[in-house]
């Protein structure tokens, strides 16, 4: 309905999404690391930033298809991040790439499929369900909100905005949880009261998507 739904999602929008995600992580690197310091090992910000910067360097040039761009990100994250988030986000982008392989532009439903595949990849690799205080707690509600909004006929822009809000709320909701997956799980009860760092990076990813995929400046 809004003007931003005008053009379909092409490679340049995907590129803008990846850039925005990298920018957000770079800007909030210290915050991500500080969250990880509280209940992990103080590297989530550095890890994600290192990987996304490498991804930017390795992005294929203009005209690349969405799937190729996402695959390049996947390979960069797998080869550069390490830690838990490397294989998790790496697998997510690999699955996202596969979900849209061969398409030059994506319909709203393709975008939803892309994020659904990403979530499935993370859950397969990491075996975490909801409520375990991980990035899944941000991504799963985001994917649900995206689906639901599109189903009720919202524009992609609106739907992504709702997904981003859902991610943020899901991340907020990790604060009172006790972690049962990943490094934070070693803290047991002491993990309560802290936001899960991966849920924040996942939120940044969804916010980057909302700000770029449905239009807006392509950089």
């Amino acid at each position: 309905m809004a003007g931003d739904a005008a053009a379909a999602v092409d490679g340049e929008r995907i590129r803008a999404f990846i850039r925005r995600f990298a920018e957000k992580v770079a800007a909030q690197k210290d915050e991500l690391t500080a969250l990880d310091a509280a209940i992990g090992d103080a590297d989530h910000g550095t890890n994600m930033d290192r990987g996304l910067q490498a991804a930017l360097e390795r992005l294929p040039g203009e005209g690349a298809a969405p799937g190729d761009l996402l695959k390049a990100v996947a390979m960069a994250l797998i080869s550069k991040v390490g830690g838990a988030s490397g294989p998790l986000y790496g697998t997510a982008f690999l699955r996202a790439a596969a979900a849209v392989a061969g398409k030059a532009t994506l319909e709203p439903g393709d975008v939803a499929a892309l994020f659904k595949a990403a979530l499935a990849g993370i859950q397969e690799r990491g075996k975490a369900g909801r409520g375990e205080k991980t990035m899944v707690d941000a991504l799963a509600p985001a994917v649900e909100a995206l689906d639901a909004a599109l189903a009720r006929g919202a524009s992609l822009g609106e739907a992504l905005a709702e997904a981003a809000r859902a991610a943020r709320e899901g991340s907020d909701a990790t604060i009172p949880l006790v972690a049962t997956k990943g490094r934070a799980s070693y803290l047991g009860e002491r993990s309560r009261g802290h936001r899960d760092p991966g849920s924040l990076s996942a939120t940044l990813m969804m916010e980057a998507a909302a700000e770029t995929l449905a239009g807006g400046p392509a950089s």
Binding site: T33, I78, P87, G90
Partner: protein, 333 residues
């Protein structure tokens, strides 16, 4: 942050280069992707042992590459698991046609990255097995966590499985030995002070001037309990008893014992801990057949220590005593 480093980003690369320069007779260092390989690798017909993990635990793992121990080590960034490329390229460089055994400390990141690497290698037709080390009894509720962390026991798995591989054992056999060690080894650690990850630049956690953390992880992950500082003898008991109980060690059994420094602890203090450990085990009729006292698996400059006990039998002792020649562990050569 006070460290002998140049640039935060270069810490692991430069230290790995230094290791290579200091021990050219033992190891060869490759840069991209980063791994440390035995100088004489590949040893044809020998099972290749590969380990790795975040850096900051030196001498683990790079210091244990060499004859009778690891064929390759893959150092990640400080406290960050290595990436699959490292294990894949290391495996290709060192495997001698008899298969590859990954020795993986049980951390979500390590497990997943080694898993990805194993998938990629299997696809290339290289036989890969993995043994998980999960010996940290500080993690009590392994059902509700990512499971016990791999800590000091890793040194024992690497040494003993390394001896079996060096002696020409098959992949099945080396895997069996590695599992036997990991099934019979337990550890627990504590910290007097935090460490500072270079990329972060400030201490991972804060401890009061009169506080200590019992059950600390090797990345500065908080432990079982934060409490007031106690005398070394009491601390030793707090670490040793859960380990002994968890192993179910009984009178008449023998162990290989390690009193490990976290990186910033004077050796003087580690020997004070060893003294009490020997007393505690002696009172229970448990014999320390072999021991290590020193910095074997560290957390940067953290002050503190850990105790590791391995239930030993003749097979494990024989493999323990077998010659080893690496930058950090050497005997019989």
């Amino acid at each position: 942050m006070k460290k002998l480093i140049n640039r935060v980003e270069a810490v692991v690369d430069e230290a790995t280069q230094g290791l290579g320069l200091a021990h050219p007779d033992l190891v060869r260092v490759q840069a991209e992707p980063r791994f440390v390989a035995r100088a004489d690798a590949p040893v044809q017909g020998k099972v290749a042992l590969i380990s790795g993990g975040g850096s900051g635990h030196e001498p683990l793992h790079g210091g244990y590459v060499g004859r009778g121990m690891l064929d390759a080590a893959c150092p990640g960034e400080v406290f960050t698991s290595p990436v699959p490329d490292q294990m894949v390229e290391a495996a290709k460089a060192v495997h001698g046609g008899a298969g590859v055994l990954f020795i993986v400390k049980n951390y979500t990141g390590d497990v997943m990255n080694f898993e990805l690497a194993a998938e990629l290698l299997q696809a290339e037709g290289i036989a890969v097995r993995s043994v998980l080390v999960a010996d940290d009894v500080a993690v009590e509720n392994s059902l509700y966590t990512a499971g016990r962390r791999g800590v000091g026991g890793t040194v024992f798995v690497e040494k003993i499985a390394g001896a079996a591989a060096e002696a020409g054992a098959s992949l099945d056999e080396v895997e069996r030995i590695a599992r036997k060690v990991s099934d019979n080894v337990r550890s627990m650690g504590m910290a007097l002070t935090s460490c500072t990850v270079p990329a972060k630049g400030s201490p991972t956690f804060e401890l009061g001037e009169d506080e200590m953390e019992i059950g600390i992880g090797i990345h500065g992950e908080p432990g079982r309990e934060r409490m007031k500082l106690r005398p070394a003898d009491e601390i030793t008991a707090m670490l040793a008893e859960p380990v002994i109980d968890d192993l179910g060690l009984k009178q008449g059994e023998q162990v290989i014992a390690m009193v490990n420094g976290m990186g910033g602890t004077p050796l003087l203090e580690l020997y004070i801990v060893y003294r009490k450990l020997a007393e505690i085990l002696g009172q229970r009729g448990i014999t320390i057949a072999r021991n290590l006292v020193g910095n074997y698996i560290t957390s940067l400059e953290m002050q503190g220590c850990s105790i590791t006990l391995l239930r030993a039998d003749d097979e494990l002792l024989r493999l323990w005593d077998a010659p080893v020649h690496t930058p950090a562990l050497r005997w019989g050569v």
